[in-house]
Subunit: 436 residues, 2 copies
């Protein structure tokens, strides 16, 4: 579990004024890494601070980093964060301390750095975000028993209690927030047992939380559970857009085209260390559940392997936006409801010898909880297609319609610490016809 240190100190404030706003996702305690483009520019690494991005290449050319910290900044300054993710966690931590010192009020170099603000900072409003890393492999787990229960009609298959069930996802169709959700075409079950090819009629989202792998492991060399968290670089939000009719028609060997038309992530990677204050007891499994197998059991993980992150999904329709209505919150849940910890997912993933590489991404599965409002996809909320959601202005939804926009948000909060967020994870549905 990551350590608390001065970078999470709630007394720290930034000379970037927007980083001190109560509702910002990016106070000086967060400092997530991402890849952005200036207008017309090439992809490069940066750090979110308030509504600004610290340009790491600019910081390097101004000589703001020295020695090993300069090497780490260099590793974070390119078109993908993979070299940064491959570093020992100590090197990432040293870079974070320096970034905190550069951006905080009263830091050691404030007098030198503040006058350089025009060169060092890029407004988020002017930048385009890119995928934060070259994602070699993407894995989607399914670790919410609440989700499985509701999707399975009241039962959870025993295997979900024995191990973190997962499947390989499609890496190529991952995009950052804002990518258009083109409704997929596909074969679905027709009326009389016939198959019908056409636009997906039951388009859904799934609110998920995901982790980027830091240092990897060699093929054939498992990652012990006690070391797994140290292999996690950081976190993002993820929308596992799901074409339910395609998915349920095709699914013999797991999800395939029902999921691979697009997966959206939030562009900023909140580091393992930034999340240190928000660890919590892992979801306490019922006594009657199978014991945790030895290769997934560690006292530290059991004590603090969970993460307390409030997660919500908001929906806006074309009509709502036309009227100027705000998006309606349709999900409110928390990552602590997940049955297995992220460390357990990673240790399990590598337990058979599968090699994990820096920049690999793995997601938790739909983060559903016990409450009604914690049903984290439409198929749960609509009770498997039987009960439409009521929306403002007399609209209702069983499934997503063209023009609908889903926004996922996350926020970690704990008494005595400054809350941090994850930035946007948004997508708007476009008609299949537009590009078919």
């Amino acid at each position: 579990v990551a350590e608390l240190n001065e970078t999470q100190d709630p007394r720290r404030r930034s000379w970037v004024e927007t980083a001190n706003a109560r509702d910002t996702d990016f106070p000086v305690q967060n400092l997530p890494f991402g890849v952005f483009r200036r207008p017309g520019g090439a992809p490069q690494g940066g750090v979110a601070i308030g509504d600004q991005i610290l340009d790491l290449a600019a910081g390097l050319s101004e000589g703001l980093f020295e020695g090993d910290v300069a090497s780490a900044a260099q590793a974070a300054a390119g078109a993908g964060l993979n070299p940064l993710m491959a570093l020992e966690s100590g090197a990432v931590s040293a870079l974070r301390r320096r970034l905190s010192d550069l951006l905080r009020s009263g830091g050691p170099d404030e007098a030198r750095v503040k006058p350089l603000a025009d060169r060092l900072l890029v407004s988020m409003a002017d930048a385009t975000m890119e995928l934060p890393a070259a994602i070699g492999d993407y894995t989607d787990f399914s670790c919410s028993t609440h989700h499985m229960m509701r999707m399975g009609g009241g039962t959870v298959r025993p295997v979900f209690l024995h191990l973190p069930v997962g499947y390989h996802g499609r890496a190529s169709s991952l995009r950052v927030s804002g990518a258009e959700v083109v409704r997929p075409l596909g074969q679905v079950a027709g009326k009389d047992g016939q198959a019908v090819f056409g636009p997906e009629p039951q388009l859904d989202f799934e609110l998920e939380f995901a982790a980027f792998v830091g240092r990897g492991n060699a093929l054939g060399r498992p990652i012990p559970i006690g070391e797994a968290e140290d292999h996690i670089f950081g976190y993002c939000l993820l929308n596992d857009w799901s074409a339910r009719a395609i998915q349920f028609f095709e699914m013999a060997l797991g999800p395939f085209l029902g999921k691979s038309f697009l997966t959206t992530i939030s562009p900023w990677v909140v580091t393992h260390e930034a999340m240190a204050p928000f660890h919590t007891t892992a979801f306490v499994r019922p006594e009657a559940d199978p014991p945790i197998p030895a290769y997934l059991r560690s006292e530290a993980d059991r004590r603090a392997g969970g993460l307390d992150v409030r997660l919500e999904a908001l929906l806006s329709t074309e009509a709502m936006r036309r009227r100027g209505d705000p998006p309606q919150r349709i999900v409110a849940t928390n990552f602590r409801y997940i049955y297995w910890t992220l460390a357990q997912m990673l240790a399990h993933h590598a337990s058979g010898g599968c090699d994990m590489n820096p920049g690999d991404l793995f997601a938790s599965g739909t983060v559903s909880g016990p409450e009604d409002e914690a049903k984290a996809c439409l198929m749960e909320a609509n009770e498997r297609g039987t009960r439409a959601l009521a929306l403002p202005g007399g609209e209702s939804r069983l499934w997503l319609e063209d023009g609908d926009e889903v926004q996922i948000r996350g926020r970690a909060e704990r008494e005595g610490f400054v809350p941090i967020g994850f930035g946007p994870c948004d997508g708007r549905v476009a008609a299949a016809e537009a590009k078919a």
Copy 2:
């Protein structure tokens, strides 16, 4: 469908004498691309000819390629073939014509090229092969009804007849022929409904055939069936090593750790054009089967979308090797038994908008046929674990034991053409204990 041209002319012979042997996989009609290392050297692109490799970088520095052909050779000369795969098929074809002219007896530059042989050629015996491309995504289809029938206990689920069923595989654990097969650890079903963690007791192989994607498609833009074959760069053999006990215990959302400890491919990519003589009528589906949906139907594909490739698997045990016994053939099958064509698999894969990229790999699934000897994995041959295979010297096998080596071979033959092969796709099983 690729065109016949002078590069497949059976009268062509090579001044590299080993390329004229009757049993070589690499006559001058084949010319597959791969990535190799000289002793102590960096990965670089080459072309197989007999028992030699043509070093493309050396050919470029000798000025053997000009204009667009030099650009294509440059794209093939690096540490991965992805830039070559991204080219229009015409550019690849032009490079192939030039390679054929350089390596054939009586070619236009023979007098100039032969004296350079020491610089241009590297003996395969001295080279180490690497993955031929950076494989962004790997997909495994399951397109043999014979395999499904035997694995499923006599029935094939209808969806396998409606569409090419596939799942996302793990890209990171792909390796070329020769990689050690470390027996994976994992949870399997114990005696009394308990889960047990330990070395896989039912290690199996699956003989498969695979294709590399050439030019890709943009997200949200399907590849029409009529264009799909032009997006296939070439082919290789694949062993989908399978840990059956792990696989059947874990499988709720498709194969995961039961398959991701290692997947072996043959290192040479036989191009689409080299395979032009070996096209055949696609497997004729029974009249009673569902009609082929429009997005997977093309007359050209129906007429010649299949490939006639003899495929076999050989097994040798430690005891057999100690006695000097040759490997025993345990599978003899043919790729023409596959129910869907590779073009149909690719068109289906992209039909929902999933973006395919140059260097992506997709495999056919176990290539089983109707005959007893065409059972292309142990689980079929041993009748789901009930009937052991007899081996020389009184040995028998239900599943793979430590020290067992599986070799997969492929050969395309047709009257009036020179047969071509795929090179080795081998792996030897090592004990789980060795690296656990």
